[in-house]
Each structure stands twice: as C-alpha cells, then as structure tokens.
Amino acid sequence: MTSRLQSARQTDSVFHTEDLNIYYGNFLAVRDLSIDIAKNSITAFIGPSGCGKSTVLRCFNRLNDLIKSFHIKGKIYYHDQDLYASEIDPVEVRRQVGMVFQKPNPFPKSIYDNIAFGPRLLGYKGDMDELVEQSLKQAALWDDVKDKLKAFGTDLSGGQQQRLCIARAVAVQPDVILMDEPCSALDPISTLKVEDLLQELKEKYTIMIVTHNMQQASRASDYTAFFNVEANSKGQRTGYVVEYDRTEVIFQSPKEQATQAYVSGRFG
C-alpha cells in the first residue's frame, strides 16, 4: 500500500503524520495514523460513527486543544513544521487552517460582519468591501445575498448559512480548509452546490472533508481514507485507518475486505 501511495503522490504534501496516536486522558481514541495530505486536493475521511474521523480532522487545526484531556503521541508535520511543537501558537495554526463545521454556525451578526470577522482579527488593511464580495463569490453565495449584506447571517437558509461559513473561512485566505460533515444538515440541492464549490475551491486550497455520505466522498474527493473502529478488552473503542488511497481505488478496487464491505454498503 505504501508504494502505491507514494506513486500516487505527485504533488507535494501539506500535512504529514507519523505514528499519530490521539488520547483523551488515558483513552486511546485513534491509533497509528500515518498519512499524507496532498496539496490542492480533496481528501475525504469516511468510516462508521465513532471511528475518530472528526477527532483526527480537529488535530490539524489544533481545535482539540480546547479539550483539556486531549493529547497526542507521534508527529503531525505541516509543511515540514512540527504542528505540536511548543513554540507553535495554535491561534496562528487556525489562521492557516480554516474550518467549516457540521452544523452551520454563522455569528449572530450581519452577513458582511460574518465575513469581515476573520480579516479584522488579522488587521486586514485592504478594501474590506472587495474582500467580502470576493469571499462570497468564491462560496457561490454572492448572487443570493449581494442586496442584503446587512441582513443577519442567521436569517439565511441552512444551505446559504453553510456557504456563508465557507465564505467566512475563505476570507482569511487560509492554506487548508477542514470540513467536518459540512453537508449533513443540508438538503440534497444545497449539498450539490457545496460539492460543486469544493471543486472550485481546491484550485486555491487544500481541502479535508469528513463525510458520512459515501456518494459524496466518491463524487467529490481525490483521496479517501477509510477509518474503522475496534474495541479492546476493556470495551474502549479505538479508531484506525484501514486503507488510504486514491478515491477511485478505495471505491472500485479496495485491497481490504472491510473497505470493500463498507463502500458497498454491507456494514456501517
């Protein structure tokens, strides 16, 4: 599997993990993760509930740091820099690695202020109106909201709210965008819009997406990691990567039995 992956990696990698083990206190949540994330690609994390996909995703922008008992063993490199080195400021990491959440979570502010929030934090000096417009256009929301930028972000429909959240993440011009089941609260049409959007966004950004929707993974992603979970003798459930490869390989000719069973819908 390793050799195949390396040959698949033509582009340089943004993230690289080595024997990553993720703990909450003594509880091992995810084990032995060694993975490369290719630049300007979409990488999907799929797998049954509770297998640690979201936990892994949140390691890449250090959002798990908010949980006190969280700690890792092993390494995550971000462009050859140790992401968890003591001199790294998690706040800086999150400015490089944006995130879109499962449930649309616009701030209770105007659409304009939602987009401008991040750039203002960074002390953005350029033309804010233009940045807001660009960000909304990138998120394919501009035509919907250009006449009501003062309206509350929370008054938009669910699909629009999620695109607003994508625009908000894009506005700080990150390097990577993490998406944690971004379409799980959306209707099928909004979901398709977001998926189309992903294809445009990957021109500029590297995207990592957790999804429960296997069609979505097969339609939208370039690489797919299949996670599974197994319980130890004490009943603690630890997630691990079963197989990681190009998406068409995972869905059409996976090497592992479990992957085959999962992608064909026989379990999970």
């Binding site: 959002l63 908010l66 701030f107 209770p108 929030f117 991040g118 959240c165 908000r168």
Partner: protein, 318 residues
Amino acid sequence: MASTTDHSSPMNRKRSATARSIDNGFVWGTAAVAIAVGLLLVAIALRVGTDALPAIQKFGLGFLVSNRWSVIDGAFGALTQIYGTLVTSFIALLIAVPIGVGVAIFLSEDFLPPRIKQPIVFLVELLAAIPSVVYGLWGIFVLIPFLRPVGIWLNANLGWIPLFSTAPAGPGIYAAGLVLAIMILPIIAAISRDAMVAVPAELRQAAYGLGATRWETIFQILLPAGFSGIAGGVMLALGRAMGETMAVTMLIGNSNTIDSFSILSQGSTVSSLLANQFAEAGGLQVSALMYAALVLFGLTLVVNVLAEIVVRRFSLKL
C-alpha cells in the same frame, strides 16, 4: 392494549370522563390563578392611585421637582427622594455591572477546574440569600467605619467636584450605593453567566476556528451574543436596587433635605422615606406617601419597559 369495544384503534379510544374533567379543571384552575395575579397588580395600583389623589390634586407635578418635605407645613415634594433613589441605584450599577460581568466571564470560561469553580459559583449566588437587614447591619458596623477615611480623602482632595463637596457624615448616599452594589452583584453575575453559558458552543468553535484568541472570542462573539441576557439581568438588578428598602434605610442617613449633589452627604430614597414615615403618618401625609409610592412604581415600570426594549432591540437571533 386490548379493547373489548368495536373501536379497537387507539385513535377511537375515549378517555374516561374523570380524566377529561381533570384536564379541563386544570386549564381553568391555572387560568384563574394567572388572571388573579394580574388583577392583584391592577388592584394595588388603583388603590395606591386613589389614595394618592388628594396629594396629586394639591401638588401636581410640582411634587416631583420640590425638595421640601415638611409634615408641619403640610408641604410635600419628593425630589430629594427621587434623586437619592436614582443616585444610589446608579452608584450600585456603576460598581456592580463591571464586576458582575467580569465574574460571569470568569465563571463561564474554563479558567478554573470545575472542582474549584462550582463552589465559587455557589458562593456568588449565595450572596443573594443574605437578608437585607443583615447587609444593613454589616454596613453600619463594618462598611461605614471602613469607608470613613476614604470619604474624608475624597472630600479633601476632590472636594471641588460637586459629588464630593461635603465632609462624610457616617451614613450617607455613598454607603447605601455601595451596599446596594454588593446586593445586586449576584443577580448580575448569575444571570450574565447563564447568558454566556447559553451561547451555543458552535459559535465559540467558529471563532477559535478563524484564529480568534480567547479574549477576542469573549469580547467579540460571546458577550455580544449574550448581550440581551446580560442587559436583562442588569435591568432586573436596577429594579431591585431602586426598590430595596431595609439596608438603604439603615445606611443612607434619612435626611429629607437635599443641600448638595454630594454623595458623601446623607440623603433618602423613596423607599426609605416610606419605611420611615408610614407609622406616624396621617391625613395629607399618607396621601403624599402614596404619591411617592406611585412615583417609585412609575420609575420601576419605566426601567422594566426600557429593559424590554433594550432586550428586543439587541437580542440576537441565534
């Protein structure tokens, strides 16, 4: 559930007559109680209003701008008391709002492990359980002696400011205001903390996810999102401060004349006036007290309406 009748579908099952009458009885009973409470408020307001009528007819709106309260001359004006009420409440808010909101921020974040935080939350809320008269007693024997040098210093060094233009006389407006601040602090802290805790965790994560620091998240997202709750708590506290009687009566000095704007001088509030005079009052004085009560009623009504407007105007749709 097996049914012996033809109507075996659950939809057709009839509830027993008893169950239905209990249902109806409950609806009517709660409606009656709710209406009775409303009527009680109207009845009190009407009674206070009619009893105040002679004074209203005699003094008119002049009552509000006259500072003369003379039982002997039968001349009554409540400016001193209205001023005292507003100033003590304002002092209380000035001190209690920043501290209360600060406590709320501190106790709603994870600065402390829960093991230490929970007892502190409990203790702050326990401040509200201390009876008013105990605050008054503590104020007389502890706070006023402690504040005396502060008052003397303020008068000596900042005496050119009208607020500090008199020498402190032991009890006074500032002591009453300070104790009121302590009394309303737990209301502001508890309600503000609830408002902050109720802000959805997703908003916090969204802010952190954009690279906001903890303080940027608190001041730009959590406080604005919890604003309507915090404002509601502050208004509730203001209502409490304006109506508070026992502790204020014990600490304010109960002077019925207003000589200066100094907060170091003695004064009185509408509620302390009522508490001091109701026992010996007769004739027009009773009517004047009722008028004063009506004014206090009006003040708290205005505060509550303002609170409602503020909360609606700024309440953020989450």
